[in-house]
Amino acid sequence: MPTSNRYQMPDPSIQLTDELIMHHIDRNSRVIDLGCGDGRLMQRLHDEMGCEVMGVEVEQSNIVAIIQRGLPAIAADLNEGLVDIPNDSFDFAVLSQTLQQVRNPKRLLLEMLRVARRALVVVPNFGHWRVRMEVLRRGRTPITQALPYEWYETPNVHFMSMRDFRDLMDGIGLRIVKESPIIKGRSVDQLWGSNLRADSAFYLLERDPSKG
């Protein structure tokens, strides 16, 4: 298989991502988890932090799994936005390792901050030096460890770097409250040359009233 000897961007372990997200969510707040899978994080937010949670999922089997947990979920395709979710109905919107897969990430980010006060996003950093090497030396499209798909079948349809992400936030009037580069499965507050060295990054975002 041609993917085996290629550099695969490591994805932060689920455990780390969950902890990181939970660290930035207030107790007893209302949280909407976009692309929530089988509701693992929702369950922890509900049980450990008393949050009122809500999941959005496209897979029917995942909706059943969440209902089995006694938690609420609605079936929706994130590519179609969050039309059914009213403005400001949540405190936090979570989107983990999914942004690079939606058709219109900009619209979804704006939607997240329409329905929630703050957004928490974890995105891969395709600006990592090994990705650059892969492109430069071997002329290959980057892939990730969790999604080691070839370019023609990968769900990763956008390849953004941390620098790209910051630019977008600036352009659409969202404020980065916190940025945590994730390197070798560990999140750090500061990282020299983060756009070269981080595998992925965590962002806490909110609307920036000054930029309207």
């Binding site: 209902i67 609605i74 059914d84």
Partner: protein, 392 residues
Amino acid sequence: MSAQDTDQDSSNDRSDEIVQTQFVDLFQPPNLLTFASGETLGPVRVAYETYGTLNKEASNAIFICHALTGDAHAAGVHSTSDRKPGWWDGFIGPSKGIDTNKYYVICANVLGGCQGTTGPGCVNPVTGTRFCLNFPFLTVRDVVTVHSELVRHLGIKQLLAVVGGSLGGMQVLEWAILFPDQLKAAVVLASAPKLSAQGIAFNAVGRRAIYADPGFANGDYYDSEGPRYGLALARMVAHITYLSEDSIELKFGRRLQDSDRFAYSMQKETEFQIESYLHYQGKRFVQRFDANSYLYLTRMMDYFDLSEGFPSLEAALAQTKARFLVASYDTDWLFPTSQSRELVSALLHVRRHVSFIELRCPFGHDSFLIDIDPLAALVSPFLERTFESTSP
């Protein structure tokens, strides 16, 4: 639709699932039922069936609301020789989606119906003659008021859940805002917070067919054959709305009824299989349904708008206390997914616990009666978790 549930196990195996329809007279004078229209009526006879056993705490009761032409016989059989089980028998029963080993299930014929509960075909105790079109004007609220009284009569303070599809789902919604403390959970299937203009349009055609039948006699037809052609025609039109393009194509296509060649004759009324099927549906319906009930119940459905009397749908749903499970079907064009989404959105607006899914099924609006497995996979854990959250 019952085409799918013909292959029952030999009914002998079901001797422990024999049920009888029971009757109770509620709203005995002077405690008359007051309709939304202001008219009063009493006593009101209610036909109902129950399955399973009510637990000591009376906390395991589930009420099933039937759709437009359903009845109290939702599950089980009436005798060992009964070839046709209840209309939702695949869904309700021992170890089924709504497990009667665990839950006590109640289903009642709606007010204004014609299968045992007081309706326009019944004799008015005051005048000694049948109500016909003098039966009080009927709304979903009135139907739910009677259901609710039945539940109280059965000694149940709070239902674990109220479950219904189509017009039954409308009753569930009305119940959740009218008697919010009486239910812990609401399951709304292939339904909507109001009937669409398209739905009203089809109902109008059905009613017109009945009115235009000379046998209708302004509703006073019980001594004669009645508007059987009109009622059959109403059913044929309605039946099309319960199917989908795909399901008609799949089941009948353009296949001919008794030949593989066209007859080229206008004397031959039934050429295609779909024609024959609709004629059969119409004919069968006339045997079991009363035209006046059909008029009242379709009009009731037209009138239904959950937000009626409130500034908005959100304000109406703010009355609710239940947790909700909403499901629609991708091929249902009578109660399209967009209407369920509108409901879900309003529920989220008032911050209710709500789960929603659009199920994929080719059978159109009738899917909720036919495609039981995916429905059971959804409803069963929803009820279970709700039940656990209330059990000590």
